[in-house]
């Protein structure tokens, strides 16, 4: 159809200009609509386990980051393993980092450097390009803001399990703690002064500097110092100066000798001045006093806050962990998952039914709130199960009986308290004193932590003691294993259904339609 004869060139140009104007107007409206939607948007996570829903704390941190000028870089130095577990870990982590990038309006960027494919020169080139100074090992994740760098290893993002192994012997990634770690790293990068944690020395404590399997080097330096940004020191508190003023949190970890009177005096002074104390005990091999008077001074001091450590070792058959020993899977009743967490206290509030915190060789903590100073609140934070859990007294004691079974009137029946928090304001001060005690230090030693130890409880406790409750996040999310190894028969069936049957159905339908029309 041609234009009416009376339409001259000028009239046509006029209409064309009008249409061009309309198109420009509509395009402008659509651009404005997209501009607005980019500023006020919603992301609906439809995944079954809400994998990509970030917690409120993370969103708060990202909102601050997105409105500031600072740029954060995340670099993953990736190396795969023979099981394919690292690939799965990287995929999940990459998805998470993408969420951070999106939510921070690009202030946080990430990059994966594949170590095997880029080679040594490629790695050096990447380090130069990204201006990284930190040394790294395979699967380290480096967070960088300006000149400040922090490192964490990808394996810390995940809980692993060796039971129910797949046909190819693949370890399962059971839980994902990436959000908590990434957010903590971002906050640590933006901190002005690091919080100081001082570990006591002089009582044969587990050392934060010990890199041997029985030390706490990995937890103290890899997690607390490098990842979370705390400053770690060791001090003896019995001297005339007592606990230095710059110490924010004092930590006592599994001492093997009792505290002296001088130690106690300074410890009391520290606490009365609004001190914050972290205590991790152990059943230990020297559990030889069934009345729990192993360390009269230290335990007596804890007793003044209504916390009474027992001389037992906790067994929990219902939640015992399984270990792969050669081809066999075995269970150890002294290594178990914590069955119950208090859902109100800041330390454990965000823990869910899926939170995996383990204990290994723990002792029971009994509480007597009536003995705590006036104005102090004592809260049980974690307990064993009630069914087949008990605290065995004298298990490795002088009689060497090693009964490994519940003895009425001697052993302590479950549920057993495994972690306690006490807080309050001492008379004459306005600063709140905080105390956290857990009945186990072994689950966090270097030889155990990488296997099944989860630092969530101790880490949250340190954050609470450091008055950084805002960093306590929802704990690990359950990582649903969707691995699917097809047998030959299943493979054949999938091929027949997807590759043959459906296209043949389309042909058959088309042929039927054609024949029907032809017959009409």
């Amino acid at each position: 159809m041609s234009a009416p004869a009376m339409w001259g060139t000028r009239a046509r140009l006029g209409v064309a200009a009008n249409v061009a104007g309309q198109v420009a107007f509509v395009v402008a409206i659509l651009i404005a609509l997209n501009w607005l939607s980019a500023r006020r948007y919603r992301r609906v996570d439809l995944t079954d386990d809400v994998s990509y829903t970030l917690g409120g704390k993370t969103l708060g941190v990202l909102e601050k980051i997105s409105s500031a000028d600072d740029r954060y870089q995340v670099v993953v130095f990736f190396a795969p393993d023979e099981y394919g577990a690292w690939e799965a870990a990287l995929a999940r982590t990459r998805d998470l980092l993408e969420e951070y990038r999106t939510r921070s309006n690009g202030r946080i960027t990430y990059e994966v450097v594949p170590l095997l494919s880029v080679g040594r020169e490629g790695v050096a080139s990447a380090k130069r390009r990204l201006e990284l100074r930190s040394e790294f090992t395979a699967n380290d994740v480096i967070f960088k803001k300006g000149d400040v760098e922090r490192t964490v290893n990808l394996k810390e993002f995940f809980g692993q399990e060796w039971e129910d192994m797949g046909p190819r012997g693949t370890p399962r990634l059971t839980s994902f703690n990436g959000e908590s770690i990434v957010t903590a790293m971002l906050v640590a990068l933006s901190q002005e002064r690091p919080i100081r944690i001082a570990f006591t020395a002089g009582h044969e404590e587990i050392s934060p500097d010990d890199a041997e399997p029985t030390g706490w080097g990995a937890f103290a330096h890899q997690i607390l110092e490098k990842r979370e940004g705390y400053a770690i020191t060791r001090i003896e508190i019995g001297g005339v100066n007592g606990v230095p003023k710059e110490v924010d949190v004092l930590a006592i970890v599994s001492p093997r000798r009792d505290f002296s009177e001088a130690d106690l005096r300074n410890l009391r002074l520290f606490m009365e001045g609004g001190g914050r104390l972290f205590v991790a005990l152990d059943a230990g091999p020297e559990v030889d006093d069934p009345n729990g008077k192993r360390f009269p001074n230290l335990f007596g001091f804890l007793g003044t806050y209504g916390i009474e450590p027992q001389g037992d070792i906790v067994f929990d058959e219902d939640n015992a962990l399984q270990f792969l020993q050669g081809e066999r899977i075995s269970r150890d009743k002294t290594a178990f998952r914590i069955a119950w967490f208090d859902r109100e206290h800041a330390v454990t509030r965000k823990f869910t039914a899926d939170t995996e915190v383990t204990m290994a060789g723990a002792c029971t903590l009994m509480i007597d709130p009536g003995r705590a100073p006036e104005g102090f609140r004592v809260v049980e934070l974690a307990k064993s199960s009630s069914g087949k859990a008990y605290g065995e007294r004298g298990y490795l004691g002088s009689d060497k009986t090693q009964r490994d079974r519940f003895t009425p009137n001697v052993d302590i029946p479950g549920p057993l308290t495994l972690a306690v928090a006490a807080s309050g304001t001492a008379k004459g001060t306005t600063v709140e004193t905080r105390l956290f005690v857990m009945g186990d230090a072994t689950a966090l030693v270097n030889g155990v932590l990488p296997q099944f130890g989860r630092p969530d409880l101790a880490l949250n406790a340190i954050r609470w003691l450091a008055k950084q409750e805002h960093l306590i996040q929802e704990s690990s999310k359950r990582n649903v294993d969707r691995t699917l190894h097809l047998t030959a028969a299943q493979d054949g069936w999938i091929f027949r259904v997807c590759v043959l049957f459906l296209p043949l159905m389309a042909i058959a339908f088309g042929g039927t339609m054609w024949l029907t029309r032809r017959s009409q």
Binding site: A3, V499, L502
Partner: protein, 245 residues
């Protein structure tokens, strides 16, 4: 009412053409084979996620074949003159053609839902939320493709030209812009405008990523609907232009 009659006519017209069955057969063959390979290689019940990226590409090839005849054929056979003079507005014509082609595309995609069922049958546990979001994304990007194809089909009387032009445009938006976004960071005028972000925003592949993870982002939805709206608007203007050109 005219719109529904016309949309139904467009939809049923596909079934009278052997071309539609050939397209659907090859589509299902490609997607089925790819899904089978992905399931074997990834050993993961959520292979649907990887399939979605592939389907985004497959639709770049197949949808031009669906849309090429929408208006080009009418123009070539002369029925477009009858259509635009019939008691039906240009907007209704454009919408009817659009929904007719989109319905056929959805019908072509529908059998791929059986893949999820097949994974269940062999003991896998696919994420249903992720699958749902993936199909939502695929529906939206297909709608955007169809609207672009419809507009291009309105510009020419030659179906092959329409198909090739549509393919080139979709290929540009799905692939080339991804490369441009990557290299835009090196552009000298990068300081005033965040070009990588702008190019990335209009890049179809990037807009589809969140759906593949199981996330429905309102920005992606608004973007794809904007493309649909623009494609339909341009189609209407193209139809109207026959009256004054």
């Amino acid at each position: 009412m005219n719109f529904f009659v016309q949309a139904r006519r467009e939809f049923t017209a596909f079934f009278y053409s052997p071309m539609a069955y050939i397209i659907a057969t090859f589509y299902l063959l490609f997607t089925g084979f790819t899904f089978w390979i992905l399931l074997k290689n990834e050993a993961n019940a959520n292979a649907m996620r990887s399939l979605l990226s592939f389907l985004g590409f497959i639709h770049v090839i197949f949808i031009p074949m669906v849309t090429m005849r929408l208006l080009a054929e009418e123009r070539k056979s002369g029925t477009l003159e009858m259509l635009v003079t019939a008691p039906i507005s240009d907007v209704e014509i454009a919408l009817a053609k659009f929904f007719g082609a989109l319905s056929f595309t959805v019908l072509m995609m529908a059998p791929t839902l059986l893949y999820t069922w097949a994974v269940h049958k062999v003991g896998g546990h696919p994420d249903h939320g992720l699958t749902g979001a993936s199909y939502t994304g695929l529906l939206l990007i297909s709608a955007a493709y169809v609207s672009i194809g419809l507009f291009i089909s309105s510009l020419t009387a030659n179906q092959i030209v329409a198909a090739i032009l549509t393919f080139v445009v979709l290929f540009t938006f799905y692939f080339l812009l991804g490369f441009v976004a990557g290299s835009a960071a090196a552009l000298p005028f990068n300081e005033k405008v965040d070009w990588p972000a702008v190019v990335n925003y209009v890049h179809f592949g990037s807009r589809l990523q969140a759906f593949g993870k199981g996330i429905v982002d309102t920005r992606d939805v608004v973007y794809f609907l904007s493309v649909v709206a623009l494609g339909l608007f341009l189609t209407v203007k193209s139809l109207e232009s026959r009256r004054w050109r």
